[in-house]
Amino acid sequence: MTSIIARAAAKVRDGERLTPAESVEMYLHAPLPLLGELADVVRERKHPRRVATYIIDRNVNYTNVCVARCSFCAFYRPVGSSDGYVLGFDEIFRKIDETIELGGGQLLLQGGHNPDLPLEWYEDLFRAVKARYPSFRLHALSPPEIIHLTRMSRLSIAGVIERLIASGLDSIPGGGAEILVDRVRKALNCYNKATSDEWLEVMRQAHRAGLRTTATMMYGTVDTPDERIEHMLRLRALQDEVGGFTAFIAWSYQPEHTELGGVQATGLEYLRTLATARLVLDNFPNLQASWVTQGGKVGQLSLAYGANDMGSVMIEENVVRAAGAAYCMDEVEIVRNIEDAGFTARRRNMHYEILGEPIFRQKEVRRMLNLAVAREEGDGSVPAELANYPARSASEKRRRALQ
C-alpha cells in the first residue's frame, strides 16, 4: 500500500476530507476491500443503526422525441420518427393511479428535448397533476431539460425554475450529468444539451430556490478515472456552496443499441466507483445503489460498499431498458435484499425522510415481476391536448396540416 493510500485511509477514519490527488490515488490503486471497509465506515457514520432506505415511485418518460441526440443514448427518437411519442395527460394520470395503488407517492418525470412541448405544456401538466393528486410529488426535469426550456422560452434558468415550482415542481432529478467534464461531454455529443457549468448552474439555482435535488454520474464511455474524480469534486464543491443535494447515484454506461457502442464497465468497477464516491463526497448525505444497471445482486452488494439506499422500486423504466438492461425488483424483492444484507428496510420520500415500514407489510399489494413501459408497442396515438400548444417542428406542423 502506498503512503498516500495509508494517509488517505487514516483521514477517512478520522472524518477528514480527501484531497483531489488522494481521491484519484484511492480510486486507482486502493485495494477494493479497503475501499469497501472505509466506505462502510462513512456510511455507518452518516447512517448508524444499519437502516437502508428505498422509495416507491415511477420513472415516467413523458416523451422520447429529442433533438439532443447524445451518442450514448438508446432511448431517444429524432423529431418526426414514427416511433416517437408524447404521453397524454390522461395516460400520465393512469400511471399515477397505479403508482398510488402500489404505495408510491411520486413520479420521476423525465424525457427528451421535444421542440413541440413548450414550457406551458409542463406547467399545465404539473398543475393538472397537483389539482387531482394534491399530495403527490413531482420529481421532474433534469438540468438539461431545464436548459432546453430556457432556450425555448427565452427565460433565465431561475425564471424557468420559478415557473415550474409555481405550477407544482417538487424536486429535480440529477440526470443528464453524465461526466461533468466538457471534454467528455463534447465527445458524447451532450455538450450542447448542457455544458458542465450549465448543469451545475441549474442545480445551484434550484437549491437557491429551495428545491432539493440528486446528482448522478454515468461513467464508462470515453471518460478517464481522473475525469470521474473531477466530476465528483465539482459536485462536492457545489454541495459546499449551496448544500441542496440529497444523494449521489452512479451508474455505468449501457452500450446496447447506442450510436457510441462499446462495452459496459464491469461489476467490480461499479463497486470501486461507488465506494470511492462515498469517500470523496463527504458532504453528500446519501448514496444510492443502481440495481437497474447492475442487477439485483450487485445492487445489493452495494450496501457493503457505501450505499445506504436501494433507490426506487421504479414500477416503470424505459431508458436503461432501451440500452439492453432489464432488471426488475418490486418492493418485496428490494426489502428482502436489504434485510438479507443485515439492514432494516425503511420507505422514504425524495427528501430521504423516513415514511415507515414496507407497504406490503401493511396492506395487500400485488407483486410486480416486470417493469412497465411508457407505451405499449404499436401505440402511436397522439394526445389531443398537444393541439393546445403551437407546433415548432416541421414534422409536427405537417402532421397537424394533414389532420
Binding site: 476491500p33 471497509e37 464491469t266 467490480l268 468497477e269 463497486l271 442487477g295 450487485v298 428482502r336 435484499n337
Partner: protein
Amino acid sequence: MEREVIAGVTRADAERLLETKDLIAVGVQADDRRRQLRGDNVTFLRVLDVPAEGPVPAVAPDTGEIRILGLAPDSESALARIREVAARAGGVPVSAGALHEISGAFAKRMKAAGAALVAEAAVDRRLDRSAIDDVRAAGLDVARWVVQSYTPLATLDLFEHVRALGPLRSFAPLPRAIDPVSPTTGYEDVKVVAVARLFLPEVASISVDWSLYGPKLAQVALTFGADDLDGVPAESGGASLLGPRRATIEEVRRNIRAASRTPVMRDARFEAIPEP
C-alpha cells in the same frame, strides 16, 4: 515441490461466516485462501451445448467441452448420439449425462462411444462413493460437481458431503436451480462461494457458472474465493459467428483482468488451451 497443506475452517467457523453481515471480511479471508491455493490465474471453460437430437453444430477450435444436453429416449440412442458428436468433435472432450443416472456398465459403453466425461454430478443427489468409483473405473471423469438446489439440505451439510467425496478438481457451490420470483441474493451467493473456498481446501477450484450467474456476479465472485468460470458459451464455428464468439471471450477476459487476475482458457479436463 510439495503443495502446502492448508486446513479448512471448522464447521462452527463456516456457520459464523455464513451468518455474518461483514461481507468484506469474509471476502478478504476467502481471497487470501484462494491466492494461497491457486495463485492469480483464473481458468475459464467454453462449452458448446449440443441437443440430444438434431444436427450437430460445427465446433470452433477453442471450444473446451462439447456437452450433450438432455436425455435421449433410450440408452442405445444416447450412445449413438455420443458416437455421432464424438466423430465431429475434433479432439474436444465430449460430455454427457448426470452421474446419478449412470451405472458403471453404462459408463463403460459411454467411454467406448467416445465420451470423455460425465457432464455433471449434483452433490445434493447424495451420491455415494461407489457410483463415482464405478464411473472413474470406466475411464470417465466428471466435468463439473454442482449443487442443483440447497433445499432441503443446509449449505454446510452439503459441503460436508463434498468433503467426504475426497479431493475434487472443481466444485460449483452456487445452485443451478434459480427461483425466478425469489432468487438468491448477492450477499448469499458471494458468501456461499467464500465459505466453499474456506471450508473445502481439498477442492482445487471453486467454480461459478458465467451464463447462469451473469458476468457481474461471476466477476465479483472471483474476489470472494472463486478461481474458475464455467459455462462460457462457445458458439459453433463458422465465419458468420465469429463476431459474437469473440465478443464473449473478450468480455470474459476483460472481466477477469479487471479483477486483477490472469485469464487462462481451459478444457473440460482442466488442461490449458493455448492462446492462438
